[in-house]
Every structure is written in C-alpha cells, then in structure tokens.
C-alpha cells in the first residue's frame, strides 16, 4: 500500500522543469540528458498504463466512462505498490460523472501545485498549441477546455479536463483534505534552490544541499534549451520548434497587446490577485504599448 504525489499544474506552468529538477536531484544533482529515454514522473493520464492495469482498451470506452474509472485505476496502483508514486498531471481537480474526486484523497499523499502568471501562460501555451494568442486566451476562459481530445482520432493520453485557468487554480487550491505545496513559477525562477529544497522536503526526500544546488545548475533554462537543440525533447508535441523557448517571467510584457492583457485580467483578475500577481493599470498598458512602437524618424520617408 502506498500513495500518490501529484505534480499538478495548468499546462506551460513549469511542471516539466520541476520534473527535470527532481530527476536530477534524485541522481545526486546530475546533468540532464535528453537522449535518455526513461520516462520520469510520467503523466497520470497516460493511456497505456491505464489500459494495462484495467485489462481494457480505453479506446473502446467513452471519455466519461474512462474518467469514472480513473479513481479505481489510482486506487489499484496505490493498493499494489510499495513506493510513493509521483505523477505529473494537468487535469483540474474535478469530480467524475460518478460524483467523486478524480484523484482520490485517500490515496493522495500530497500535491505540489505549480502556478504561473496567466499572461505568461497565454503566450507559452499559444506556442505549444501552435495556435494564436487570442485563441489560447479563449481556451483559458473556456470551462469545457480539455487536453488530449482529437476529433476522429485517438490521442495518446486520456482526456484531461482543464476548466478555465482560474477554475484550474481554485479547483486545486480549495480542494478539501489535500496536503498541498503551492509553488509559483516566478518564485522558482527567482529562488530555485529554495523552491526545489522545499519540494524535496514536501515529498519526504532527504536532499543533500549540494545535490539540490547541482540539480538547480543542471536545469538552468539555457542548459535545457541547449540540451534540446542537441537531442530534441521527446515530450515536444509535434516535434517542431522548441519546447524550451524563453523560460522567463513577465515575458508577456513585450508580446501581449493591451487588449489581450485586459481580456486575461478581466477573466482571471480575482484569482491573479489571490496569488499575488499584480494587475496592470489602464495607463500602464497604454504607455507600454506606445513605448513598444518602433521609433521612426518623422522625416525618414521623405528622404
């Protein structure tokens, strides 16, 4: 009998980064190697282990039937396992159609919830989805948004309901009976050592400070980017463009239009404030937009 630690987040919020840091830490702070194909902290919604464990093809089940069975899947793994199980997840903490939590509290040892400024999520998620920022902002405020659904084809993962960005955050933050560690992406960037050490301690790992420092160094963004350019990154959705793109906080300031910022802040302002993300003032955005305009000498055209 054992329990799960869930690394939960909305997509593009730093989950993969934390997983790679934990992997390095597990190996004493060793270098990250993308040519190594072992899966590490796999997605809790991966299709194959579900099928193998339940003796069924989930491709023969409806999305609702599959979701109803997921708590049974996790309970079975907990019942038959002997080591704590780490899984990455993007699902919101939703009830299944049978009215129980998708992730049973009884087999949950803890949740590391990673959250990122939704203005940065919008930019990163748009790249990840190969879609426009406006479309992605729409997804982030759609309560029916789900990952791994493909019309007319089978996705590699089980369907994962996201809710809105705000709905996702609050579903995890307000879920009763869960032991939680909430990490902000921005804090992970600003103080990676502290974030990783706290995570390790939350997971019950004995983490030697030298190993934590090694893992922080090994997963500096530029290193991950360089490693991706050498070997590619197998979790990259379509294998084009880079998975590790910028890895900064506040990158939205030179990317989003005022209107896009306003939309996100209108949709998610309340939850953003709750997490300490300050909203832009009306003047601030207009001023920044002006400053972002390329400077053009007034007499350039006449020459």
């Amino acid at each position: 009998m054992t329990g799960f630690y869930w690394l939960a987040s909305y997509p593009k919020s730093g989950n993969t980064w934390l997983r790679l840091a934990l992997r390095s830490l597990r190996h004493g702070g060793s270098a990250v190697d993308f040519s190594n194909e072992d899966s590490w902290i796999p997605n809790g919604a991966a299709r194959e282990p579900f099928d193998q464990t339940l003796d069924v093809e989930s491709s023969d089940l409806t999305a609702v039937e599959t979701e109803i069975l997921r708590p049974r899947f996790y309970e079975f793994l907990a019942k038959t396992g002997d080591e704590p199980i780490l899984r990455k997840i993007h699902d919101a903490y939703v009830p299944t159609a049978a009215g129980e939590p998708l992730f049973p509290p009884a087999v949950t040892s803890g949740v590391v919830y990673i959250v990122r400024d939704p203005r940065d999520v919008a930019v990163s998620f748009a790249h990840h989805r190969r879609s426009s920022i406006d479309n992605t902002i729409g997804v982030m405020q759609n309560p029916a948004a789900a990952m791994a659904y493909r019309a007319g084809d089978l996705a590699e993962q089980l369907r994962q309901r996201l809710l809105t960005w705000s709905g996702h955050v609050e579903s995890w933050l307000d879920a009763p009976h869960l032991r939680r560690l909430v990490l902000r992406y921005e804090d992970m960037l600003a103080s990676p050592f502290d974030s990783l050490a706290r995570t390790a301690s939350f997971l019950g790992w004995e983490a030697d400070p030298a190993a934590v420092a090694g893992a922080v160094e090994a997963t500096r963004f530029q290193r991950l980017k360089a490693e991706e350019s050498r070997h590619g990154f197998r979790e990259n959705p379509v294998g084009e463009g880079a998975f590790f793109r910028r890895g900064v906080a506040n990158g939205w300031r030179d990317t989003l239009s005022c209107e896009q910022v306003r939309r996100i802040e209108r949709d998610h302002g309340r939850v953003m404030r709750r997490l300490g993300y300050s909203l832009t003032s009306a003047n601030e955005c207009a001023a920044e937009a002006l400053l972002a305009q390329p400077y053009e000498p007034i007499d350039a055209r006449s020459s």
Partner: protein, 309 residues
C-alpha cells in the same frame, strides 16, 4: 429459447456455439467436432469465490474462473478452463457494445486460458508469411494493417494477434476474426467509405470495418514482429532489429491482457512463451511519423523485405 438455433462460428480456430448472433465472426466451416466454446446469456455474480486478483474490472478466482465487467454494458463470467462464457448485459439484448468487450478483453482471457499467446498487435499475410505490428492503442497498428489490405494483402487479425508458440515448426498466427478497428481519420486516409459502418460505442469515432473478403482463415507462420513507435521530437523514422534482450522486453510489454495472463498462466509460463517466440521470430522497432502519409510506400517497403524471403 430460440426456435432456429444460431449457426456455430469460427474464432481463433475454435468452434463457437453462441446463443446470440455474432455477426463479427465467420460461420464455422470446419469438421463436425463438438463446440470448443459455449457462450450464453445468464446471471453473473457480483463477486467470485476465492478471488486471488481483484482488479477494478477483472476478478480472477483461485479456480481460474474470471469475472470481467464494464458498468452499464455487461458482466462476463469465464469458466476455469475457458470453455464457457456467460454474458449478463446491463440492460436489454446483446448490443454491439456487449460484443465489443466479449471480442476484446474476454477474448484475450480465453486465449491465455486455452494455451495461446495473445499479443496486442495487428497481423497481415504476405506470401504465406505472417507479419505482426505490435504496439499500444494509437500506435498505428490497424492503420498499417488497413494499408496492407488496401494493397491487396490479407488480414489475419486486427488488434489481437493470437500466436500458437508451441506449433511444430515454429510459432504460427491463428486468424482471429475479420474486422478492422479504424478511427475516422484513418478511414479517410485509406479511402474507405463510412456509410453503413458501425461504431460500436455511440460516442466514439472508431469504426468497426468488416473485411471478410480480405481475411485469411488458415494458420500462417509468424515471420516478423514490428514494434511500432511514434517518431517524436527530432527523432527520424527508422527500422532496427531488436537485440534478444530488448525483443523479449518489448514483446512482453505487447502481451494482450498481460495482467490477466500473469494471474492465469503465471509469469514463468508467459516468459517461456515469449522467449520461444523471440528465439525464432525476428523482432524490429519501427519508428514512424503518425501522419497517414506514405502509407503505400511503407507497405511496399515491408513487402519487399518479406516477399523476397
């Protein structure tokens, strides 16, 4: 209960006597032996006595009997020797959904019980040689098998490849039944019409395509197993012969209903079957992009490898 009994049918070489029609199977045309497998509707208990493996959907009892159930579809009881199946539909008569799991998980369990090795693979025949494409759901097994059928080759089985590893002369594939499970986009890529084709689960866009005319009914020696893998990231398409150890590992992972198999025939016996298979049949890793393009080229390439021997 029925005035005109349902004719017997053929499943993996067995003579099947079923109380209700099984339109997915071919009629029995073999000798006048007694039925190998009886299938009827009836009561299925909630709990088996002496459960030794208690999975979310499958119970295995000490005497080898099994209970498999899908909520709101049906419960299935499989007798210890795998010679009888009792089906209890959740409501109404036997539907396509009820038959889907009968010919899926329950069929896999029957194979384990009856000394056959079921692999999660689709299989085609090229000039009297069976080639299997193994991999998890979504790896492209059925699409590739469909492309072979389109190119005029015969289908031995889709989704579950039944191997008799003890056959004299080496492992042979026992044809299962003449259906291809294809998703809507794959059907489009293969140029198949969707009119009058059933989707067993109402919500899913997964079609159950009958292929009676392209079905091989005789046992065919297994010549190669290709483990399918999606080409991801910067990974190029490739084909590599697997080393002995890797072949055993990957083929073990490809065992259909492996958890049931471990409980029913034991880890040791499964390992012996896999070892025997891998010692005579070459296994390859086939890494391909999932883009439905170049299917014809892929078929031609594989045929060239195997037709020449």
């Amino acid at each position: 209960m029925n005035d005109s009994p349902v004719p017997d049918s053929l499943l993996a070489g067995w003579r099947v006597r079923c109380e209700f029609p099984l339109p997915e199977l071919l009629p029995w045309s073999g000798d006048d032996r007694a039925a190998d497998l009886l299938i009827r509707t009836g009561e299925v208990p909630e709990r088996l006595d002496g459960v030794v493996s208690d999975g979310p959907l499958l119970q295995v009892a000490r005497d080898g009997s099994c209970r498999f159930a899908i909520q709101d579809v049906a419960a299935y009881f499989i007798s210890p020797r795998g010679d009888e199946v009792i089906v209890a539909p959740a409501s109404g008569p036997v539907s396509t959904s009820v038959r889907l799991f009968l010919l899926g998980s329950v069929f896999g369990i029957l194979c384990h019980k009856r000394g056959l090795l079921p692999l999660h693979a689709s299989c085609v025949a090229v000039e009297g040689r069976a080639i299997a494409f193994a991999g998890p759901s979504g790896a492209g097994k059925s699409t590739l098998a469909g492309a072979f059928v389109k190119a005029g080759y015969r289908l031995l089985t889709d989704d579950v490849t039944v191997v008799d590893v003890t056959a004299p002369g080496g492992p042979v594939v026992v044809p299962a039944f003449p259906r291809l499970k294809l998703w809507r986009l794959a059907m489009g890529a293969l140029g198949l019409e969707r009119e009058n084709i059933e989707t067993p689960r109402v919500e899913a866009e997964k079609y159950d395509v009958p292929v009676e005319n392209a079905f091989a009914t005789e046992r065919v020696p297994l010549t190669a197993v290709y483990h399918l893998q999606r080409a991801k990231g910067a990974k190029p398409e490739s084909m590599n012969r697997l080393t002995a150890g890797r072949a055993v590992r990957d083929t073990t992972e490809a065992i259909y209903r492996v958890r049931a198999g471990r409980n029913l025939v034991g880890q040791q016996a499964l390992f012996r079957s896999i070892s025997r298979l891998c010692s005579t049949v070459p296994c390859h890793l086939l890494t391909q992009k999932m883009d439905f393009e170049r299917l014809d080229t892929r078929v031609a390439g594989l045929v060239a490898r195997h037709a020449s021997g």
